[in-house]
């Protein structure tokens, strides 16, 4: 839970479409007035916006009529919420115990090395992001990694390149485009 203060982030630019905002408002309306609604609202909103930058948090706070501080408090508390954008391809690497014992850390090292980003970050072109999950409950397939909706089982560090290639945009497979997403 080592999240930075919101003021250090610069994703406060409104990059969302009107359609997205309309969906966000609809979610807020659905839950407005219900006790304990904040977390389900944020879950659904994140599904629409992809991440929860300040602008989105403000909208939720205003909509539910609760302090922004409370929204921010919840967003930074739960690992499911992110204030940074995610990649078009979301890599989630399981670092649960079974995966750890079977070499997940080596996979993580290989991924970070290959994409030139750290866990929790996103490549500058927003193609890939890496997130750590603590157990997907698929320990029988350890070490496990999911990319979007695909589950990759018994992943080996030397095969990371091969796996990533499947997800790279076709025209720039040779491109070394992975720089840290500098905010």
């Amino acid at each position: 839970m080592n999240k930075k203060c919101i003021c250090e982030d610069h994703y406060d630019v409104d990059e969302f479409t009107d359609e997205q905002w309309a969906k966000v408002d609809k979610i807020i309306d659905k839950y407005c007035g219900k006790p304990g609604a904040l977390i389900p609202v944020l879950e659904e909103v994140q599904a629409v916006t992809g991440f929860l930058p300040e602008v989105v948090q403000r909208r939720v706070a205003t909509g539910l009529n609760i302090p922004l501080a409370q929204v921010y408090g919840v967003v930074t508390f739960y690992s499911f919420f992110t204030m940074k954008p995610r990649g078009r391809n979301q890599i989630r690497i399981c670092l649960g115990t079974a995966c750890h014992v079977r070499g997940a850390q080596q996979n993580m090292d290989a991924l970070e090395q290959r994409l030139h980003i750290k866990q929790g970050e996103c490549t500058a072109d927003r193609e890939f992001s890496i997130d750590v999950v603590r157990c997907l409950g698929a320990c029988g397939l350890a070490p496990v990694m999911t990319i979007n909706d695909d589950t990759h089982r018994q992943v080996k560090a030397v095969k990371i390149d091969e796996i990533l290639r499947e997800y790279q945009p076709e025209n720039d497979s040779s491109k070394e485009h992975y720089d840290v997403c500098k905010n």
Partner: protein, 1032 residues
């Protein structure tokens, strides 16, 4: 839309209806649709299977059901075909056509898709015969693999909601609670609090609004029981909660499920909808007048929300932080109202308890822990999956009988129970019962049921660091002990893993752990130190190796080394370098690298136990690199530079007793440091066990002699045929030399300690091999019995063949997988015609006129686990049998022959080894000892390492006493190391070692292994992944 169920009759009608439908099908295919199998591609298999069954016109004969998690996740996608109960695994869409054609149409099950026992290699068609399933007892998972979790009618078919009916219409709330109390069920979430008592508290609490919660925030990494239960049998959880709600008078419930389980959430939602539709949830349930409804609350990823008060805060929409108790949730829980919270597995047990009575549940288990428990068995174990066993089953039974043991012939190290709040239990606890109290006494906790198996490649310090990192990351920050304390502990552990551990770190960890346990607010903090404490308790030596020796014995903590192979080699041979040079074809340079750290590379290239290969990262992909064979290739093909004499520059004289690998290595190292060194060897030639133990067909004498000559050429004086204690006394050496290194080995075979052992024809393996290697005539006879399972047993057996024996049998008291001998040696012996009998132990030597004529043995069976983590052989009564034998060779162990020591030598010996300090110094300050004499029989490379260590210690001691600075190794010649790796890593096995054909070598003393060709060596060297990176 069906009518709502109002009576018990309605339930039975549906049950009968489903039964009729199911009985119409000739075959019922239960395809697993758990998360694991989905990820392995079961959905595709299902689609293809459905289409194929349809197109073959079998739709009315074959029912296809996607079930919940079957439990055998690692074999996914899996499927069971009823009624024959045939189990298929690792299915691919391409297999389906064959399966339908052969099995569904012709009635011939497809063998190649069945389960094969990894140990015996036998194919087992029926699910109920597979050890993974046959040792389990399904109670809470009774419906797994049998029902469609998305069909309430399937659940009703399995007597579903009959428990709820009984609770709502036939029992009073206090009777329900009483039944639960009688069952003695304890919370399956981890803490083990008696469920009935919890309910009773809540039922007594005043209040018009009460809540019934289900904790499905299965946060323990490595645990997936709750996920599987929700996926396989969601209605059982719902039914349990309805019963609980009725018991306490609650009308609203929540299932708090983690967001990582989308499939479980989906199936729970479907189940809730159906339950409402059928009138078993919502208003006026089953016509009882009782109202109860529930919803699913999706967690947002916070481990601490598994703690009950934090979970409730989270449902309230706030940061999920715990609060102090009391008041307990039973009095003031969610939104300040009386609340009960139970874990998924606890809830799923409730319907059966109510339906069949608490006494039935309590009939299973131990005194204090009743019923069954589901474990998520993962990690380094053959059969990964979900297992349900009666409480009281031992950890060893779960790991070995159900789990099938450790893969890849590796050694079991520990089982981690209870996730980040639990602990690691070592081999000595394999007989421990799964019982709340027994497990916590041993330093772990039952927890929610995660059981992660660790083998010799797992570093326990890294494990402790991992869990501490987890807890630190998940600490909510509310209380200082947990927020700051776990951070400090983590920093210490990170430091130790990075090779910067300091003296006192272990004690500091223990102190901090105690403080955090005592003062943290909630369960997360109070239990966070457990993994550290349990690893310190059982694996303190690993912490010490990290802190003092800067070594990670499992070769995991990569900050301490450049490559795992080099780190694992007792003498730190620079393996990646010589392999890189081999790949570049620079064999002569590779040889120079070999010689820097090991004076016996040709020997080690043939007979080393190669621990390096067991840690080779390539092994995680296909097979480890053939490091030993490559080493041999280099030594066979390199130009060997002539060794120059090293001048004596110091006045001190050093005596080495024993001209084996350890003694000779020490002599060379001391010579390099300028001492005059004399080696005393009792045999006519030097070499020790290399010369007198290992037969020439494994290690040609020329090879050995060359390497010994390289040592004597430096000016080391070698006196062969001089036995200390006979030709010269120990006291004389003590007087004439400034220091002595004892490296006499373990030269005496252990006796069998059975009647008749003194008969003519009974040999100890060491003595037999010595005679054999002295080329003395041995009348071995026709039938030879060898007793033991180590390398000496194999060497003896193969040598006996070469002496002309017709049939040679090794008798070993355990199973093959437990044999300490190297696998390739065992195979070579078998190829030559040596027979091996397992699970037999000798009882008596049969003799006539003082000569051996036979051996009486008894059959053994495996009992409980011994401290080494192996099952102890126990004699089967009345199983004695006699085999004919003209000679018997006992190869069950070796110990020190201490006759060379005098009474006044002041060198302490215990049992069968010489006592030494950490720096190999004996109780006599002038005397050091190492090798087999200290360790008992070990690898050559260990003896060489001991020689190096002792030489450095002797030198250091002399220099310190004279106030001189430490010796500095002169710089090595610069050799440029190429860094070349293949772009693409393609799986390919080890290059095979060419051998003499078995029929040609059986009676021959020629070297069996022929060595790699240039081509084979180069391609093998290319397999190296260069873990050392660009370090040079």
């Amino acid at each position: 839309m069906s009518a709502k169920i109002r009576t018990l009759e309605d339930l039975v009608i549906i049950k009968d209806k489903v039964d009729k439908v199911k009985s119409r099908f000739r075959l019922r295919v239960m395809l697993c649709g758990g998360t694991g199998c989905h990820a392995s591609g079961s959905l595709k298999v299902k689609d293809v299977l459905k289409a194929e069954v349809q197109s073959q016109g079998l739709a009315d004969q074959v029912e296809i059901i996607e079930t919940g998690c079957n439990g055998f996740c690692a074999m996914g996608p899996v499927m069971t075909v009823l009624p024959e109960n045939i189990f298929y695994q690792k299915l691919d869409p391409d297999d389906v056509i064959e399966l339908v054609q052969k099995h569904f149409i012709k009635g011939e099950p497809v063998k190649r898709l069945m389960y094969t026992d990894p140990v015996t290699g036998v194919t087992i068609p029926k699910l109920s015969d597979i050890p993974f399933f046959s040792h389990q007892q399904s109670r809470v998972l009774r419906n797994k693999g049998l029902v469609d979790p998305e069909s309430i009618e399937d659940y009703l078919w399995r007597d579903g909601y009959q428990g709820a009916y009984k609770a709502l219409l036939q029992l009073e709330p206090n009777e329900i609670i009483n039944e639960v109390k009688v069952s003695k069920i304890r919370g399956r979430g981890g803490a083990g609090f008696p469920t009935g008592t919890k309910w009773e508290f809540c039922a007594r609490s005043e209040g018009d609004v009460k809540y019934t919660l289900c904790n499905a925030d299965e946060g323990d990494p490595g645990a997936f029981m709750d996920r599987s239960l929700m996926e396989a049998d969601p209605h059982a959880v719902i039914e349990g909660m309805i019963i609980g709600a009725r018991a306490i008078g609650s009308h609203q419930g929540y299932i708090y499920c983690r967001a990582e389980y989308p499939l479980a959430i989906k199936r729970m939602n479907i189940a809730l909808e159906q339950a409402r539709e059928y009138g078993v949830l919502g208003k006026d349930i089953l016509g009882s007048g009782f109202d109860f409804d529930m919803e699913i609350y999706q967690g947002a990823g916070a481990f601490v929300c598994g703690e009950e008060t934090a979970l409730m805060t989270s449902i309230e929409g706030r940061r999920g932080m715990p609060r102090p108790r009391p008041p307990f949730p039973a009095v003031s829980g969610l939104w300040g109202k009386p609340t009960i919270l139970n874990n998924v597995e606890t809830w799923a047990n409730i319907p059966q308890i109510v339906l069949h009575g608490g006494a039935d549940f309590a009939s299973v288990g131990t005194e204090s822990s009743k019923g069954t428990k589901v474990f998520a068995l993962t990690g380094k174990v053959n059969n990964i999956g979900l297992v349900e066993v009666p409480m009281g089953a031992t950890i060893g039974q779960i790991i070995y009988d159900i789990g099938g043991g450790i893969p890849g012939g590796k050694k079991f190290k520990a089982a981690q129970l209870g996730g980040p709040s639990g602990g690691c239990l070592p081999a000595e606890h394999l007989n421990l019962q799964t019982d709340y109290e027994a497990i916590s006494e041993a330093g772990a906790i039952m927890g929610s049921g995660g059981m992660i198996v660790m083998d010799e490649d797992t570093c326990m310090v890294d494990m402790a660091r991992y869990f501490m990192e987890f807890c630190q990351d998940e600490s909510c920050g509310k209380c200082t002990p947990c927020r700051v304390g776990t951070k400090r502990m983590l920093e210490i552990l990170q430091r130790i893993c990075a090779g910067q551990g300091q003296e006192g770190d272990i004690e500091l960890l223990e102190e901090l752990a105690g403080d955090i346990k005592d003062s943290a607010l909630c369960g997360l903090g109070q239990t966070a130190p457990n993994p550290v404490l349990s690893t310190i308790r059982y694996f303190r030596h690993e912490y010490e190796a990290h802190i003092y020796d800067k070594r990670c014995p499992a070769a995991v903590c990569s900050a301490m080394f450049t490559s795992p192979c080099q780190h694992t080699c007792p003498v730190g041979m620079d393996i990646p370098k010589y392999i890189a040079l081999t790949r570049a074809g620079r064999i002569d340079d590779a040889y120079k690298i070999l010689k820097r750290t090991n004076p016996f590379p040709s020997v080690c290239g043939r007979v080393c136990g190669h621990p390096c290969e067991s840690k080779c990262r390539r092994g995680q992909l296909d097979e480890p690199l053939a490091i030993k064979n490559l080493k041999r290739f280099v030594t066979d093909n390199a130009k060997k530079p002539r060794v120059k004499e090293i001048p004596v520059t110091r006045t001190e004289k050093i005596a080495v007793i024993g001209g084996g690998p350890s003694g000779l290595t020490a002599a060379l190292e001391l010579k390099k440091r300028g001492y005059a060194v004399t080696v005393f060897e009792s045999m006519p030639e030097a070499g020790g066990m290399l010369r007198w133990g290992i037969p020439a067909y494994r290690l040609p004498r020329k090879v050995l002699e060359q390497e010994i000559r390289d040592i004597t050429d430096t000016g080391v004086v070698l006196k062969t045929g001089v036995m200390v204690g006979r030709d010269i006394s120990f006291d004389q050496l003590n007087g004439n030399y400034d220091a002595i290194y004892i490296a006499v080995g373990a030269q005496k075979s252990w006796p069998l300690e059975i009647p008749g052992e003194d008969a003519q024809g009974v040999w100890g393996a060491v003595e037999f091999l010595r005679q054999f290697n002295l080329n003395e005539k041995i009348d071995i006879g026709k039938s030879v019995a060898v007793i033991g399972g180590g390398n000496s047993a194999i060497d003896s057996a193969r040598s006996a063949l070469r002496l002309g024996a017709q049939d040679v049998t090794i008798f070993y008291r355990r199973e093959r997988k437990e044999m300490p001998a190297q696998e390739e040696e065992i195979v070579a012996a078998e190829e030559e015609g040596v027979k091996i009998e397992y699970l037999v132990a000798p009882i008596e030597v049969m003799r006539q006129d003082g000569r051996v004529i036979g051996l009486k043995l008894s059959r053994q069976q495996l009992g409980k686990f011994d401290r080494s983590g192996r099952k102890r052989p126990e004699t089967i009564e009345n199983s004695e049998f006699v085999v004919r034998a003209d000679a018997i060779i006992a190869a069950i162990g070796q110990n020190l022959d201490q006759s060379f020591l005098s009474k006044t030598s002041n060198v302490l010996v215990s049992k069968s080894t010489v006592n030494v300090s950490e720096s190999l110094r004996t109780s006599n300050p002038k005397v050091w000892a190492g090798g087999d004499a200290v360790t008992g029989p070990a690898m050559v490379i260990d003896a060489i390492a001991a020689g190096q260590k002792a030489a450095a210690a002797i030198d250091m001691s002399i220099r310190v006493s004279k106030g001189e600075p430490a010796w500095v190794q002169p710089p090595h010649e610069y050799i440029e190391i190429p860094f070349e790796i293949d772009e693409e890593t393609v799986e390919c096995p080890q290059a095979k070692m060419p051998e003499l054909p078995a029929d040609k070598r059986r009676r021959s003393f020629k070297e069996v292994e022929l060595g790699y060709t240039m081509e084979a060596a180069m391609s093998e060297a290319r397999r190296c992944m260069r873990c050392d990176g660009n370090s040079d």
